[in-house]
């Protein structure tokens, strides 16, 4: 039987992308938690270029970069497909996945920012949410995948879940429902999907951990 291993870290939105894909397709896997401050030799061997999680290892062969992993999973295990079959629809889906991937840096940017930098980071988040509201979600009734989630929904999961964690620890409301009704509605729909609900990150633990981490970071900055 083929062996699937996933190297991950409990906080990482990119790791959760892979977990949800594997769960959705019913693929058994072994999960290995990595301490990102003390990466295992095995992780460094499997991902020498980026040295990051997630890394999927299938039959001893490593696949790195979450979107590359998702596409691999979708191709090897075609049940519950994560991308449209039609080439044009797929090109559109891939466009939005790339858009979401290219905006992932906003999480850390907001987390690390203070004062003026925070205002700038919030502005960038609002611009991103506006594109989701005015472009990405046009014509989307429930989820990007229709009634079920697909790779586009999974790619935007950092907006659905991790933005909320950041809002919580920073005491900010960025995705205001009256300003972003489509995004807010999509977030609720995303969170209510069984595979997401049943494999939901520990956001309380994240908030506590990240709040503390941010305090330490800001204190050391001002020292």
């Amino acid at each position: 039987m083929a062996v699937v291993k996933l190297f991950g870290a409990w906080l990482s939105p990119y790791v959760f992308r892979v977990i949800w894909a594997l769960k959705l397709k019913g693929i058994p896997y072994e999960y290995i938690e990595e301490d990102l401050s003390n990466k295992s030799p095995l992780l460094l061997q499997y991902n020498p270029i980026h040295k990051k999680v997630p890394v999927l290892v299938h039959d001893g062969k490593p696949i790195c970069e979450s979107t590359v992993i998702l596409r691999y999973i979708d191709e090897i295990w075609p049940q519950n497909p994560l991308l449209p079959a039609d080439p044009y629809d797929r090109a559109v889906a891939l466009f939005w996945i790339k858009f979401a991937d290219d905006k992932g840096y906003l999480m850390l940017k907001l987390y690390r920012a203070n004062g003026e930098e925070q205002q700038a980071a919030v502005k960038e988040w609002l611009e991103m949410l506006e594109v989701m509201e005015e472009h990405a979600l046009i014509g989307v009734k429930k989820l990007f995948g229709g009634d079920e989630i697909n790779m586009v929904d999974i790619a935007f999961s950092f907006v659905a879940i991790w933005l909320g964690v950041l809002e919580d620890i920073l005491g900010l409301e960025i995705c205001e429902p009256h300003k972003f009704p489509r995004v807010s509605s999509w977030i609720q729909n995303f969170k209510s999907i069984p595979v997401i609900k049943d494999n939901f990150p520990d956001t309380d633990k994240m908030s506590t951990f990240l709040k503390h981490g941010r305090e330490m970071m800001l204190t050391s900055k001002s020292n």
């Binding site: 299938h58 062969k61 970069e65 590359v68 044009y88 797929r90």
Partner: protein, 219 residues
Amino acid sequence: MAGELVLLDFWPSPFGMRSRIALAEKGIPYEYREEDLRNKSDLLLQMNPVHKKIPVLIHNGKPVCESVIQVQYIDEVWHDKAPLIPSDPYQRAVARFWVDFIDKKMYELGSKIWKTKGEEQANAKKEFIECLKLLEGELGDKTYFGGESLGYVDVALVPFYSWFYAYEKCGDFSIEAECPKMIAWVKRCMQKESVAKSLPDQEKVYEFILQLKKVFGIE
């Protein structure tokens, strides 16, 4: 399947070159439209409202944006000739990984080489060469990244060659001296008509960079 194909592009864009090569490899006729990026056409703004960038591939009136997505789309729709993306899922994942690596590194590092000076430029040069060496490692003894024929990674990477002369002049270094295997691979690619015809002359690109430096007020 054929239908109407338009490519909105800008001659020095390495991203546009990717789509040009893919279309040429498969012998697909299309209309090339040059965009003036200081005065973008209504069509461009309409077809790529999110990024307002080239290249945009318009197939039967419907836009495909992002060069790597265009290459994949072209490969899928015109799958019977000159396949670019590996058929094996694992090889496909490896190819996608390297295209992602190229996208994350090459343009940004290259830009730093011609835009900056001093320590910032030195660091960019160092990292740029390191990236090329990693790519050389991936190429190994193969003729192309795609094996015996041009593949996805080749198409994604080779356009940056048209900027090498500009990087070398601005950065005062020799890419061939540091990465001879890379240049040998480039030369093999340039023997293909699809590549040679899709890449602009390096001197022309250098002149263009010098103009940009004037506009940006960079010494």
